[in-house]
Structure formats: structure tokens, C-alpha cells
């Protein structure tokens, strides 16, 4: 597989060879050994079933971890784990962690087979999703499964500079609106695509302030792994493929956690008129060591909305967030946002999630969510649930972190005007 950037006249600007075959007719191209190594690692990950992304678990606040940068190289959370994150994934996240006397080597990258260099961290993620959709009269039930994620990622620091990137693959996604925002090569169809959800260069201006340029998670709302939850989908701020290119400034000093980003557009989407530009940010204040309260805002403009094709589309969302660790076993996450999409009246969305850890590593979660995307501005439209009227949904979840590197999760998703969906997720992370 060969990824090639070329001009309209056909002149090759840059190319990465990530293939196992030779193309005798291909022009001579500069090669980047690191990417080839990354590809091999990707294959290794697929074969050994040992990949996965440690997530930004916002409920970690119940253990006093209110700031994501304690465990993640990204101070806003998600993806690559720090050394401390590795230890805490064994001690506070995984089953049996309460008995841990000292960190085991197997909790490290690649189960400790490779010692990462100082200031360099690697990770990877494989998620396989099984979905059962219940039947309705005339429509039989359905059972599907698919690989949801196969990514590798890493982060390195040289002095005050930091760089980070993720690289993944997906296949047969042409008709899907998910994944494609992170696509690297332009072909889709039934073939492979390479994708990069995040990549950035950063500069630590001071110990608690990071300036970054690149493709970044949008700092909006509570950072949760459930990318299809309405609060993430309706605001287009999930970590699945809603990232955008831009410049961000993150500050995590004292009781404050702030992240403000100037959105320059998703440059993995063409042509330019479909790119959203604007600002997005979150401010959170730690009221007590286990209770944080904050607010988020987002404002974007696109000449044409890539999903709705509404022209001169202004989209905004404003909301409040809260994270509360009631005890080391019980926590709550909450978010409520008002929405305004191009071509719609004002709407709102939100969720409340309660998480009770029955025993270390085994979580029972109840989530309630609501969505009113706003009434369509069309002549003959009447309000209906989700569009001009509230629509409610509930999730019942069991999340089991059996051991470092492994998570199993079951979700029962019930949403008004939809059938019951049962989801089972198998998650390995490197």
C-alpha cells in the first residue's frame, strides 16, 4: 500500500511506501523508514490481538485524578499513556489492582517486551464491536460485528517540544459518515484507508501550559469514549473522527483546566468550502479534589456543511459540564448543551452518567441522555422527537477491565423511536 501526495499535473510531492509488494512502474519516491516500521507494528498488532487505546476516563476524578495529563501525554486526555498512566491503569483501572504492591512490567507498552526510550511513549488500540439490533414487526433482528478501531499512536518530547501522532487503518467505509473525517488517502470504495485521528507539534510554554498545532480533539464537553452518545454526535466533538486542524492552548494550573482551540478546518476534507472554521474551548474549575464544574463553547462557520449541505452554515453549542467523584466507588458525569445548527432552530442535548465500581475494574453504569437537534427550518415540518421536541435515551452498561491491556464492555442502548441495541465491545490496548 503506497500513500502518495501529488499535484494536479502528476508531480509527486511526497510518498510513503507501506506496502508488501513492489510496483515496477511506480516513480522513485523518498521513503520514510519510521512509517514502514509503524506499518509493521500495525500488522503485528492485528495478529497478536494486542492493541488498544487507553481512554480518557473522566470518572477517574473519583480517585482524585482530575487532570488528564497525569496519565496521558495529551494534557486534555486520551490516547497515549504516560509512565504514571501505565501504573495507574494497573492499580486503579484493572481488576486486582488493589492487591498491587509494585507495578508489574506487563502493564507497560507491549506487555513490557520493549522499554520505551525516555520521553517517548507508544500505544495502540484494537476494538471489535458486536451489535445486536432487536426486531420490530416486519423487520427481523440483526447481528453485526466489525473492527471499530485499529490504531497505533505515540508521543515524544525533546526539551520543551512535543510531537504526537496516530495512524490507523479501516476498510469498506465509503457509505459511512464515521471514520472518514480522519481519512488520509482519497480512495474509499471497498478498499483500505489509512487514517490519522490526531497529529500535532507542541511547545510547553511553562510546566502547565502547552501550545499545540495540528489535528486535535475538540475541547468541548466531557471527554467520554462513547462516541455515539448524542452529546458528542450532535455537537460533532467525538474522538472517533471529529478532530480538526488548528491551534490550541491548554492550561492545567492550580484548580483550573482550560483548553482553547482556534479551528482552522479539517484539512483531510476537500474542497475548502466544506471546512469549518471557528473557536472551541472548555474551562473547568476543581471545586474540591473530586468535584469539577465547567463550561464549553463552540462556534464554527462553513461555506457548506459537509454533512447537511446547508450553505453558509453557522453552528454553535454552549454548555456546562460536571464531574463528581462521590466516593472511590461512585462517580457522576453530566453535560447539558444548547445547540444551533445551520438550517435549524435552537436545540439542546445532554447526558448524566452514574458509574458504580462493584469491585476494582468492574463498573456498572447507567446513562440517561436527551436530544433535540432543533426544528428544521422548512415550511412543512412539524416537531418530532429529536427534531423540535426532546428525545430520550438510556444506556445500561457493564465495563470490565480484566487486566492491563484488556477491556470488555456490554451496553444495552434504548432510545425513543429506535429498536433496542445490544453492544459488546472487545478492547485490547498496547
Amino acid at each position: 500500500m503506497r500513500l502518495r501526495w501529488q499535484t494536479a499535473s502528476g508531480r509527486v510531492l511526497m510518498a510513503f511506501d507501506v506496502s508488501l509488494h513492489l510496483s515496477k512502474n511506480a516513480p522513485r519516491m523518498p521513503r520514510i523508514p519510521c512509517l514502514r516500521a509503524a506499518c509493521w507494528l500495525l500488522i503485528l498488532a492485528a495478529v497478536t490481538l494486542s492493541s488498544g487505546r487507553a481512554e480518557a476516563y473522566s470518572w477517574m476524578i473519583k480517585h482524585g485524578f482530575s487532570k488528564c495529563g497525569s496519565c496521558h501525554t495529551d494534557p486534555a486526555g486520551g490516547e497515549t499513556l504516560t509512565r504514571m498512566g501505565r501504573v495507574e491503569s494497573e492499580h486503579l483501572l484493572s481488576m486486582g489492582g488493589t492487591d498491587m504492591e509494585e507495578p508489574s512490567k506487563s502493564s507497560r507498552f507491549l506487555f513490557g517486551a520493549i522499554d520505551e526510550p525516555d520521553d517517548v511513549s507508544f500505544g495502540g488500540s484494537y476494538r471489535h464491536m458486536l451489535i445486536y439490533s432487536a426486531s420490530v414487526p416486519g423487520v427481523p433482528s440483526e447481528f453485526t460485528h466489525f473492527p471499530m478501531q485499529l490504531d497505533l499512536y505515540g508521543s515524544g518530547r525533546i526539551g520543551n517540544f512535543v510531537m504526537s501522532a496516530s495512524l490507523g487503518v479501516a476498510k469498506g467505509i465509503e457509505g459511512s459518515a464515521n471514520v472518514r473525517g480522519a481519512q488520509l488517502n482519497t480512495e474509499a470504495g471497498d478498499g483500505f484507508i489509512l487514517l490519522s485521528r490526531n497529529h500535532y507539534l507542541g511547545l510547553w510554554l511553562q510546566d502547565d501550559m502547552l501550545l499545540r498545532v495540528g489535528r486535535l480533539n475538540l475541547p468541548f464537553g466531557v471527554r467520554i469514549p462513547e462516541h455515539v452518545m448524542w452529546a458528542r454526535e450532535a455537537t460533532r466533538t467525538d474522538r472517533e473522527s471529529d478532530q480538526q486542524h488548528g491551534v490550541s492552548l491548554t492550561y492545567t494550573g492550580g484548580r483550573w483546566r482550560t483548553d482553547v482551540m482556534l479551528i482552522l478546518g479539517n484539512f483531510q476534507l476537500n474542497p475548502d468550502r466544506f471546512r469549518e472554521r471557528g473557536v472551541v474551548g472548555t474551562v473547568e474549575y476543581l471545586v474540591t479534589p473530586t468535584f469539577a464544574f465547567g463550561a464549553s463553547t463552540l462556534l464554527t462557520y462553513a461555506q457548506e456543511d459537509p454533512l447537511t449541505r446547508v450553505e453558509d452554515s453557522v453552528r454553535y453549542a454552549d454548555g456546562v459540564i460536571a464531574r463528581w467523584g462521590v466516593s472511590p466507588k461512585l462517580s457522576f458525569l453530566a453535560e447539558l448543551d444548547i445547540l444551533k445548527d445551520g438550517g435549524r432552530e435552537l436545540g439542546f442535548t445532554g447526558f448524566v452518567q452514574g458509574d458504580y465500581e462493584l469491585f476494582r475494574g468492574f463498573h456498572f453504569m447507567l446513562t440517561g441522555e436527551v436530544l433535540d437537534q432543533g426544528l428544521l427550518k422548512q415550511a412543512d415540518v412539524v416537531p418530532q422527537r429529536g427534531s423540535g421536541a426532546p428525545r430520550y435515551g438510556a444506556w445500561i452498561s457493564l465495563d470490565w477491565f480484566l487486566m492491563p491491556h484488556l477491556e470488555l464492555r456490554l451496553d444495552g442502548v434504548m432510545q425513543q423511536d429506535d429498536v433496542f441495541h445490544g453492544q459488546a465491545q472487545f478492547h485490547f490496548y498496547l
Binding site: I43, A46, N185, R309, L376
Partner: protein, 176 residues
């Protein structure tokens, strides 16, 4: 290398078991014998967003199919197929957007029966980034590469054998 190729094969087979969600644009293509581009934009024939989903099938064409006598529910491609066949067999052709062109004719030319045509939609991926097409295997080139490799291995072995002979001649031990 063989391990790596096997690994790639396994990974490839594994990833092909991907999505099996109903693909309504493909159903429309199958019914009308078309092969229209931009499947994502074509979600907007029925839905108000290319992400689709429950409660978003609010375009005029979708409203017609949801109404009597079609009573189309979501998530069922076979029902869509029969509803389309029923719609296209009406004595007076259906024209959901009242633009003077029938729904069937608009769909046949990859247009939009719910309103204005879509035009060129968004393209995903970095501008100009392509995966190189898989080259046809070249037997002669492969045989030549194999021959050259064999020759190089043969030469390397001979040199290695000569080196060992010089470093430790028979009958002369380096042990003390």
C-alpha cells in the same frame, strides 16, 4: 518475511468482516440499475444529515415513502426495494419536490427527488494522496531477483568459508 505476509493476510481478512449496515443508496442503485457516485451525499435524498439515523429521515422523498400506502420503516433494505418498485409503477409518476421531473427520472440521472441536486460533495482524505494501484506480478523480474539473490548468497557463503579457513588454519590452536 513469510510470517509478515501471513500476518498481513490475517489482518486483511480480519478487516474485511467490517460493516454490514443497510446501505440505502446501494438499494436505490440496485432497483434502478444505476451506479451513482457520492453515496454519503445521497443519504440526503431521505435524511437531513449524511450521518443518517432515526428521526432524521425528514426529506420530502422520505416523507412520501413513510406515508401510506408504503409505510416504510427504517433499517429494512428489502422494504425500501419493494416500496420503490411500487412507487415507480404508479400511473401518474411521483414527483416529491414538485419540480416537474419525476422521482424515478431524477434518481435515474443520480439527482435528488427531494429538492435541488447535490452537486460536487465533500471528498475525504488529504488532497492528492492516493494509494498506489497494486502492480501485476512480473514473472521475469521475480525470476531475475531470485537468481541474483541466490548468487549473492552463494558468493557470501564462499567468502565466509574462506575467511574461517584463514582465521583458524588446521593444527594451530589459539587456546592457551
Amino acid at each position: 518475511m513469510r510470517v509478515a505476509l501471513a500476518a498481513a493476510g490475517v489482518a486483511s481478512a480480519w478487516l474485511t468482516s467490517a460493516h454490514a449496515t443497510p446501505d440505502y443508496p446501494a438499494v436505490i442503485d440496485a432497483v434502478l440499475g444505476t451506479n451513482c457516485p457520492q453515496p454519503l451525499s445521497r443519504c440526503l435524498i431521505c435524511h437531513v444529515t449524511a450521518k443518517g439515523g432515526q428521526g432524521t429521515a425528514e426529506q420530502r422523498f422520505a416523507k412520501k415513502l413513510r406515508g401510506s400506502p408504503y409505510n416504510l420503516e427504517g433499517n429494512e433494505p428489502r422494504a425500501l426495494s419493494s416500496a420503490l418498485e411500487q412507487l415507480f409503477s404508479l400511473p401518474v409518476p411521483s414527483d416529491s419536490d414538485d419540480d416537474g421531473e419525476s422521482d424515478e427520472d431524477e434518481l435515474l440521472r443520480c439527482g435528488n427527488p427531494s429538492g435541488e441536486d447535490f452537486g460536487v460533495g465533500p471528498e475525504y482524505g488529504c488532497d492528492g494522496a492516493h494509494l498506489a494501484p497494486r502492480a501485476e506480478p512480473d514473472g521475469a523480474l521475480g525470476a531475475l531477483a531470485l537468481g541474483v539473490s541466490g548468487l549473492l548468497v552463494h558468493v557470501a557463503r564462499r567468502r565466509s568459508a574462506r575467511g574461517k579457513t584463514r582465521a583458524a588454519p588446521p593444527g594451530r590452536s589459539t587456546a592457551r
